[in-house]
Amino acid sequence: MKRLLRPTTLLWQAAICAAFLALWQWGFDLHGRFPRLVPDLLDPYFVSKPSEIVDQFLVLGCFKTGLGAWNGWSNGDFARCMAKFDNNLWVATWITLRNTFFGFLTGVTSGFVLGLILGRSDRLSAIFQPFITAVNSIPRIALAPIIVLAFGIGDNSKIVTSWIVVVFLVFYNTFAGARSVDEGFINAARLLGASEWQITRSVVIPSTMAWVFASLTPAISFALIGVIVGEFIGAEHGIGRLIIESEARGEASGMMVAVIILMIVGVILSALIWRLQIYLLRWQPQRAQ
C-alpha cells in the first residue's frame, strides 16, 4: 500500500512526534499556572523529559561522565568507563538481545517440532491434549521466579523464561497449521510416490509455514518480554537490570532510556521477521496489508 507513504502522511506523523516531544519536555512547566489542566503524572520525577533522557543516554552509554563531562575516545576515558561500568547500555543491550535470540530460537524450533509431531499424529495429540491445555493455562510469567531460582541469575534463567513463553505460541500455531494441511496435496504427493517423510518435508512443512510465520512476530516480542522479566527478578546484566537499578535510584530518565532502547530493538526485530516472511512466503497471492 504505497499510498500510505504520501508526503502529507509523513508530515502529519512528524508533526505528531514533535507535539508529543514538546509536551513531554515543557508541559509540566505549566503545572504551576494550570494545575488542573496538567496532571501530576507529567512530573519529570515520574516520566522524566526528553532532554534528561538524552543526557542519561549519554551517561549510560559511557559518552559522558555522571558529572556531565564528555568522555574522550582518544584519551581512553570511554574505554575506562566501559570497563568499570559493567552494565553499561551497550553490554546490557547486547546481553538482553543475545538471550532473547536464544530464547526465541529454542522456543520456535521446539514449538515447531512439537506442533508438527502432534499435529500429524491423532494418537499423540489425543494423549497430550489435556496436559498441554493445563500447562498453557498457567500464566508463563508466573514461572519466572521459579526459573531464576532453579537456573540462577545468569543467562540460562533468561533463556528458559523466554523459551517457555515462546514455545506454546509457536506450538499452537504449528499444530493448527499441520492439522489443516489440504488432504488433496497429501494425496497428490503420495500418488507421485512420496514416502511419509517426503510428504512431511515437501507438503506438510511448506503448507504449515504461513501459520508458523503468523506466530513469529508475537513470538519475538514474547521472547523479549521473557528475558526482561527474568532480568527483573535477578540478573547481573541486561536492560531489565538497568531498569531495576534506575528505579532503585529513583531515576526515571534511566528507565526511559531502557524502554526506548527496547522499543527500537523490538521494531528492528519485527521488521527482520517481516522481511523474512515476505521472502519465504513469496508464493502467496499478494494481499492488501
Binding site: F185, A188, L192, M209, Q284, P285
Partner: protein, 279 residues
C-alpha cells in the same frame, strides 16, 4: 449393449497388445455416515486392456469416483479386489505405474510451475540436469512457455490444470486415472484440454480411466464408456465408441456418428438422471 474391449492398440515399450492392465472384481464400498451405512458402490467388475481409453460415466453420486479412488489406493474397498497387471493392490501403496489427475487443483502453491512439474522426478531422485530437461519439455508441450517460474496463484484455471496434468505425466505413468479433471473449467478451456490430452494419448497410448458426468467429454475422448447407475453405484451398461482416431475435439462433434452415439447413450444416461432425482 454390452461390448467387449475394443481392438487394442499397440502401446509403447514393453507392452503386449490385448493384455489386461486393470482388472476389477466384485468391488464394493460402504461408508458410515453418522449412524447409517451408505452403500456407494455395489459389485463392480470390469477389465481394461493395455492402452485402452475408458470413460466412467454416470450421474453424481453414482460411485464412479469412488471406484477410481479405490483403484488409486486412496480408498480401501469394502469388498472385492483390484489387480493391476495381475498384482493385487494394497491400501496406501500407490503403484508406480499409476498417475492420477484430480478434479480439484492440487498444484502446490509454494512451488513454481517448473518445480511443481518436476516434483515427481525430485521424489524419484532424478538428477537436476535431467529433471530440468524433462520439465522444460513438458512446459513446452503444455503451452506454458514463459510461466516456468510463475507461482500457481498467478495462473488461470486452464493453465493450472495443464500444469497439473504435466506434473502427473512427467514421470511417464503407464496408467492414467483422471477424476473429472476438467470439471471445473469453462467449455472452451475444456475443449482445449481435450485436444491437449488427445494429442498426448495418441503419442503415448497410456491406459486411461477417465471419470466424468459429461457425455460429450466421454465420447470425445474414450474408446469405451462404462456407465454407472445411480446409488448404489453399479455398472449399468458399456458402450464402445467407434469414432475414428486421431480425433479433433471440435470437428468430432459435427460428425453424424457422434450425434448417433450421443443420442444412443444419452437415452440410457437420462434414465439414471431421472432415478437420481428426489421423488
Amino acid at each position: 449393449m454390452l461390448s467387449a474391449a475394443r481392438a487394442p492398440r499397440p502401446a509403447p515399450g514393453r507392452s503386449e497388445p490385448g493384455q489386461t492392465r486393470i482388472e476389477v472384481r466384485g468391488l464394493g464400498k460402504s461408508f458410515r455416515l453418522g449412524g447409517t451405512e451408505l452403500e456407494a458402490v455395489r459389485d463392480v467388475s470390469f477389465t481394461i486392456a493395455k492402452g485402452e481409453f475408458v470413460a466412467l460415466l454416470g450421474p453424481s453420486g453414482s460411485g464412479k469416483s469412488t471406484v477410481l479412488n479405490m483403484i488409486a489406493t486412496l480408498l480401501k474397498p469394502s469388498g472385492g479386489e483390484i489387480l493391476i497387471d495381475g498384482v493385487r493392490t494394497a491400501p496406501n501403496k500407490a503403484s508406480p505405474l499409476v498417475g492420477y489427475v484430480f478434479q480439484k487443483d492440487t498444484l502446490f502453491p509454494w512451488r513454481t510451475v517448473a518445480d511443481n512439474i518436476g516434483y515427481g522426478l525430485e521424489l524419484a531422485g532424478v538428477a537436476k540436469a535431467e529433471r530440468a530437461e524433462r520439465v522444460a519439455a513438458c512446459i513446452e508441450q503444455a503451452g506454458l512457455r514463459g510461466f516456468a517460474d510463475a507461482y500457481p496463484s498467478s495462473l488461470s484455471g486452464g493453465m493450472r490444470q495443464r500444469a497439473a496434468l504435466m506434473r502427473t505425466l512427467v514421470v511417464e505413468p503407464q496408467i492414467l486415472l483422471m477424476d473429472e479433471p476438467f470439471g471445473a473449467l469453462d467449455t472452451h478451456t475444456k475443449i482445449d484440454m481435450h485436444d491437449v490430452l488427445l494429442k498426448i494419448w495418441d503419442r503415448e497410448k497410456q491406459t486411461v480411466l477417465f471419470v466424468t458426468h459429461d457425455l460429450s467429454e466421454a465420447l470425445t475422448l474414450a474408446d469405451r464408456i462404462i456407465m454407472f447407475s445411480a446409488r448404489p453405484g453399479r455398472i449399468k451398461e458399456m458402450f464402445s465408441v467407434d469414432l475414428p482416431r486421431p480425433r479433433d475435439a471440435v470437428t468430432l462433434r459435427e460428425t453424424p456418428r457422434y450425434a448417433e452415439l450421443f443420442q444412443h447413450v444419452w437415452h440410457s444416461l437420462g434414465e439414471e438422471f431421472i432415478k437420481g432425482r428426489a421423488p
